[in-house]
Symmetry: C7
Subunit: 69 residues, 7 copies
């Protein structure tokens, strides 16, 4: 069911918290069974600093939480 | 049996302690065999700071303990 | 054999040391093959601070040692 | 689908963020199912210091994010 | 062969060094294929402090070295 | 394909960056599917200090990057 | 091939570097497919301090490098 909810949020904005403390906010384009993800129009926040990254491929095992916006 | 108890607490409030030191408290909506979970109306506490997150998808391998409320 | 000893201590008090430095002491209600556990009447100790948690579901891979009381 | 996007970016420039804090930027020559990768003309950045590494073979489990350029 | 040597040391004293820096010394009562172990009459040493723990069930993946006494 | 490139660099000099921050530079003699490797005439660099190690067997899961020389 | 070289060094002296920063030097008596090892006449060095450990069983996943002497 956690993977189903990701399906419902495809093409919507999600905010990801990563194990290295960064947060990524972007449009969820796709994902696989390992929760590897593709985001578009991604903004990274690290220690309060915001950086535009555009398209990002993310390895799922670095994700802690996913918050749909 | 630990997964059974989660089933009995679906739609109830749980408090999760994560490996990164955060706690999440919210309504348990669903989970899978990896203890990936969906929470609703989630509040995150980090270093005493509380933040409303709403719906959260959580990767199970970041969970340390689950306390049903 | 380590899982057998857990079976013999079901419904008895156990003290768990976790990787994050916390100790949990409570009644062992159940466990599975991954050493995921359910404790009842659990007390958590962190840096000398004691907190009553009640029922706790614990992911097995966070456990270092289990001491039956 | 995350692996598909890598296929579309073969022979293009990608920027990788690694778990040890380094970033690598280079031409993606190949990858396998574990996201092990080969980069060419790679530049490493660590704490603001840039170093030319040329060809790099990278173990996939060290990758956090991949940003196609 | 490393598991065979453990078999020969069953009911003998072993000293374990754990990943969290503790050492445990006790009588090896049993173990399984994951090197999960049961010790009896166990003494824990942490930062030079010794504590009697009695029976201990230990998850194998926390062990670094095992020294038969 | 990442394993193929290692095959082409057998008996050539490679520089490895490890997770513990050390770098090893030596002749690649062999490797297996886990990227366990054998190096010869190996020099280790740790915090700017260089040490001759000769033959080294290396567990693959400690490797971050491999740079053929 | 990395496991083969260990076979050739059985009953010879090896120096192991572990993930926790210790080095162990001793006679390699045996090993299995996980690189779990048995050493005899082992000396441990930690922060420049040397300690005689005698026989040591070592879990393979704690090993970084193996240097035959």
């Amino acid at each position: 069911m956690p993977l189903n909810i990701l399906e419902r949020h495809t093409n919507k904005i999600v905010m990801l918290t990563l194990k290295d403390g960064r947060t990524l906010e972007g449009k969820l384009i796709g994902f696989d069974e390992y929760m590897n993800m593709i985001l578009e129009d991604t903004e990274e926040t690290r220690d309060g600093q915001v950086k535009r990254l555009g398209t990002v491929v993310l390895r799922g095992n670095n994700i802690v939480t996913i918050v749909p916006k």
